[in-house]
């Protein structure tokens, strides 16, 4: 966006390279224009280091009032257009004001950066980490270059992980009891459970288990809530009879899920729900929603 500032052709080419760029894991990230780019993956408390290389175009010199590199953690609300909120901002001065005539490389390092939040790309909100190189110039504006990277944080196994068990129903119509083996799942987990039918008086067409994501942004009166259904998994086909118990086994791996985010910097929350939907023959839907907590478990190297 900030390219607009450079109405003319930039005078130089800036590139940012991470020091362990070759070995670091790359993950795909969706960019604003819909394309996916591979970006390096970091986690909190890591040291982020690398080099910034400034190469002026042939025969040009770059006059500047200083070069700096910033590490920014930003939260961007789409409805609040262009308004970034930086929750992390670290700066390294790379050069004192002067001229650059030829290619020049500046190493930089941010040791053990605290990055408490994960990169998140939602419907109404985006949380991103970016390295920003600024060549400050007195006139004609600054020359900027961004390098995004992704942050994922791993959670330990939760100490308490109760199963979800509940009996619900509509009087004299439908009574079911469902059970999911846990309330907290990691992203590659399997939801196991069963649905036990206590009373069936309606003719059912099918029963689905949905995974829904609820993203709420803003606060107070400005709260925007966006709900998406990420997965729809058919559990049952046809009408069961009383006493029937239907197994649930849902692999989370194939779905594009993130950990649950609660109240990130007072700006937004992302929550996940399991929604059990029964559809009867007249296409009426009966459902019961249960929140589950998703967390990211440290993946072993194999996957």
């Amino acid at each position: 966006m900030n390219y607009l500032l450079g109405a003319f052709k930039p005078a130089c080419n800036i590139s940012i390279a991470f020091s362990d760029g070759k070995n670091r894991k790359q993950v795909p990230m969706k960019k604003e224009n819909g394309q996916t780019a591979m970006v390096p993956l970091f986690q909190s408390q890591e040291t982020i280091s690398g080099k910034v290389c400034i190469e002026p175009y042939q025969g040009k010199k770059v006059e500047h009032n200083g070069v700096k590199v910033e590490l920014l953690g930003q939260i961007e609300m789409y409805f609040d257009r262009g308004n970034f909120y930086d929750f992390t901002s670290l700066v390294r001065e790379l050069d004192v004001p002067g001229d650059i005539y030829e290619r020049k490389t500046y190493p930089f390092e941010f040791p053990t950066v605290e990055m408490p939040y994960e990169t998140y790309n939602g419907v109404n909100v985006r949380l991103r980490y970016v390295l920003k190189v600024t060549i400050t110039r007195g006139y004609a504006g600054s020359i900027l270059e961004y390098q995004e990277f992704m942050v994922r944080n791993y959670a330990p196994l939760p100490a308490i992980n109760n199963s979800i068990k509940m009996e619900v129903g509509i009087e004299d119509c439908l009574h079911i009891e469902f059970e999911y083996n846990k309330s907290k799942y990691h992203l590659k987990d399997v939801i196991l459970g069963k649905i036990y039918f206590l009373l069936v008086r309606i003719k059912m067409k099918n029963m689905d288990l949905e995974i829904r994501r609820r993203e709420s942004t803003g606060a107070g009166a400005n709260t925007h809530v966006e709900t998406e259904t990420l997965a729809k998994f058919e559990l049952m086909d046809g009408t069961p009879v009383r006493g029937e118990s239907i197994p649930v086994r849902l692999f989370l791996a194939p779905y594009d899920l993130t950990p649950t985010h609660r109240n990130i910097n007072n700006k937004f929350s992302v929550k996940y729900y399991l929604n059990l939907v029964l559809v009867d023959e007249e296409d009426r839907r009966y459902f019961k929603q249960q929140e589950i907590t998703l967390y990211r478990l440290k993946e072993d190297t194999s996957s």
Binding site: E234, D237, G238
Partner: protein
């Protein structure tokens, strides 16, 4: 089914893929990502089978998982097909004994468990089919269900084929589980079909050992279930099994198969009140067949079955249903066939009581069957008691039952029936005269109730049977028997007399006459003059009073004369009376030729060519002369009426008699008599212008030729004949 083939292709593909590096376990997980359950489950089953084949996981776990996951498909038809697909792909992968997948933790128990569970679920789905959809399509649904039943039954089939299911396991696990499902599903169609399957699929010896359980289940089925067919099949199988080898019979005894079956049937019949009588009867037939096969020596069992049958039959007003009737006939025929000896059946006390419940027509059919059985096996009933029972059985043939419309009866059938009865009477025999007499009395008692239509058929055999006894006594030397002995010829004759008397009142005088004459002859053989005389008297009375038809009279006269001629017991006085009577009757016949013939026949009464026979040549001659006179008269009459004289034949016949007596040495017949007779005939013939030559010529000429021949032969006879001049 085509889809299954496609899936098989897929299975092969999956196997390839796993060869190419992707582990099956991943594949197994991967297919579960599919969002829609139906494709997911088919994929899962397919991959699952590959998984088992790869032996990377214990087959029992995979199977258990599969059968569990399939629960997701609750739609009856889709579920049925899915599970049947599962059964199909897993069929060759069950950890049964002897298979590759058996061993370690995978036991045959797991295989059984798997199949049982799959079966249970499938059955539930199947049963549920009927509860879905509106009532209007109920019929269509029933049809569909019927078509799908094999999918369910296949499981039982597999269960029956699993290697290593021994009796113990069958008894403890398989059967109770299956039956529990069957009983609990409370669905008529399913219960019926599944019971049938169970009976067909599992080996006979298992059935035998678990009879109690199986039968208990039968009684718990829905009231509308056609239990009888189920039971019938079971019993048929068991009886075939019993028949297959005699070694297994002791097993039947061991488990008291009969008692159990019999109990079960009783219960079923009691509980299913609306079961048509034909059903009950079918059950009894099966049970009986079973009993006969398995316990051929236990008559009491057979009787017990019949007894139960009687109880059932008496609870309903009257058998109307033709099919039920048929079953009863089958029921009654079974022991006949088995024992091939009616005597055994006669000892069954309930047998006649069952027969009582048949309608008249069927009763007759049954009676015929009994008789035929006796005939076929040539069995001889030899005690009075049994005869009594037998006749009680066939009383449908013996007498008119109430309400039978005689006109309905087909004459031919009737005759055949009665002939059968007649034949039957001849089958009754006993060496012991005393017992035989009793038999005869019993038979007589029954036959007497038969009414006028039957007596002509039934009395003669009875009479002859009695006469046979008389002869037998005679042969043994009748004197030995003292006065106390009931079986004296005299007594028998008394009975006979009464019997025939009945017949004469029927009226059937000719027959009665013949029988009297037979008896008279027999009596004469026994040297019982008064008796014989009495019989003759009866015969004569009959002749006088009852026989009006002239033809019948002629026959009767000839019969009387013939019999009288043979009887030698009479004293002079009695004999005179009788012969006189006979001759008198002869002369009073209507037609002249008949008179003539009867009279010359009478001549034999006076000349019996025996050692001690009467040789009253004079009276014989008298008879012949009288015959001649009548012949003359006849000729004149013929001349007068028709203008031609017919009966030269009579003369020739008389001539023959003359020659006979001459040959026998009757002193009163002289050659001149014969000669003059020949001349007479010649004259007659000439005067007749050869009208009758056509008839009498050959006869006459051959008679003459005979005389010439005797002359030429010479010897004693030749000398005699020489005196006759031609």
């Amino acid at each position: 089914m085509r889809a299954f083939d496609q899936l098989r292709q897929l299975e092969i593909f999956f196997r390839d893929e796993s060869r190419h590096g992707l582990p099956v376990v991943d594949l197994y997980e991967l297919v579960q990502h599919a969002g829609n359950i139906l494709p997911r489950m088919y994929l899962l089953c397919t991959v699952g089978s590959v998984y088992i084949k790869s032996k990377q996981a214990p087959s029992k776990d995979v199977l258990k998982d599969l059968v569990e996951m399939c629960r997701g498909v609750q739609h009856p038809i889709r579920g049925l097909f899915l599970r049947s697909y599962l059964a199909q792909v897993s069929r060759d992968k069950l950890p049964e004994i002897g298979s590759d997948y058996e061993g370690d933790a995978n036991t045959v128990m797991d295989a059984v468990e798997f199949v049982l569970q799959n079966f249970t679920e499938m059955n539930k789905l199947w049963v549920r089919m009927q509860h879905q959809g509106p009532g209007t399509v109920r019929e269509k649904q029933e049809k569909e269900r019927n078509e799908l039943r094999d999918l369910v039954g296949k499981n039982l089939h597999v269960l029956g084929q699993i290697e290593g299911v021994d009796l113990e396991m069958y008894k403890e696990t398989v059967l109770p589980r299956v039956l529990e499902q069957v009983v609990n599903c409370k669905d008529e169609l399913a219960q019926y079909y599944l019971m049938e399957c169970i009976i067909q699929v599992f080996p006979d010896e298992y059935h035998l050992q678990t009879l109690e359980t199986l039968l208990a289940a039968c009684t718990q089925l829905m009231p509308t279930v056609d239990t009888k067919i189920v039971l019938t099949q079971l019993m048929d199988r068991l009886s075939n099994y019993a028949a297959s080898s005699p070694d297994v019979l002791h097993e039947f005894l061991q488990v008291e198969a009969f008692a159990k079956l019999s109990n079960a049937i009783g219960k079923v019949i009691d509980t299913q009140l609306e079961m048509p009588i034909v059903g009950a009867m079918t059950l009894f037939v099966s049970l009986l067949t079973f009993t006969l096969r398995v316990h051929p020596d236990r008559l009491d069992y057979v009787d017990q079955v019949l007894g139960a049958c009687v109880v059932k039959l008496s609870s309903v007003p009257k058998l109307e249903d033709a099919r039920a009737m048929k079953q009863v006939v089958a029921l009654l025929s079974a022991p006949l066939e088995k024992y091939s000896d009616i005597v055994t059946a006669l000892t069954l006390s309930n047998y006649p009581r069952v027969m009582d419940h048949l309608d008249d027509g069927t009763n007759k059919v049954m009676a015929m069957l009994i008789i035929q059985s006796i005939m076929k096996n040539d069995s001889c009933i030899s005690t009075a008691d049994k005869v009594e029972v037998l006749f009680e059985l066939i009383k449908g043939l013996i007498k008119d039952l109430d309400g039978t419309d005689i006109e309905e009866l087909d004459e031919e059938d009737f005759q055949e029936e009665q002939n059968s009865v007649a034949r039957l009477i001849h089958m009754l025999d006993n060496e012991e005269p005393e017992e035989m007499l009793k038999i005869i009395c019993v038979v007589r008692k029954h036959l007497m109730t038969g009414g006028s239509r039957r007596l002509p058929f039934t009395v003669p055999p009875l009479v002859f049977s009695a006469l046979r006894l008389v002869r037998q006594l005679e042969a043994q030397g009748g004197d030995i028997a003292g006065e106390d002995d009931p079986a004296t010829p005299r007594k028998i004759f008394q009975i006979l007399n009464q019997t025939i008397e009945v017949l004469s009142s029927v009226p059937c005088p000719e027959l009665a006459l013949r029988l009297y004459l037979q008896c008279a002859e027999a009596a004469s053989d026994c040297d019982l003059e008064p008796v014989a005389y009495e019989f003759f008297t009866q015969a004569f009375i009959l002749y006088e009073e009852e026989i009006a038809d002239s033809k019948a009279q002629v026959t009767a006269i000839h019969l009387i004369v013939g019999t009288l001629q043979r009887i030698n017991v009479f004293g002079v006085e009695n004999r005179d009376t009788l012969t006189h009577k006979a001759t008198g009757y002869s002369a009073r016949l209507l037609k002249k030729p008949d008179q003539c013939r009867a009279v010359y026949a009478c001549s034999h009464l006076f000349w019996v060519d025996d050692l001690d026979g009467i040789r009253d040549g004079e009276r014989a001659l008298l008879c012949l002369k009288r015959a001649l006179r009548i012949a003359n008269a006849a000729q004149q009459m013929a001349n007068a009426t028709r203008g031609s004289s017919g009966p030269v034949t009579l003369f020739v016949e008389i001539l023959n008699k003359y020659i006979y007596f001459y040959e026998k040495g009757n002193p009163h017949i002289t050659p001149s008599d014969i000669q003059s007779l020949i001349e007479l005939i010649n004259t007659e013939m000439q005067s007749d212008n050869g009208n009758t030559t056509i008839h009498s010529d050959p006869f006459f000429t051959s008679t003459l030729r005979y005389i010439r021949f005797q002359k030429q032969k010479g010897g004693l006879m030749g000398d005699k004949y020489d005196l006759i001049k031609l």
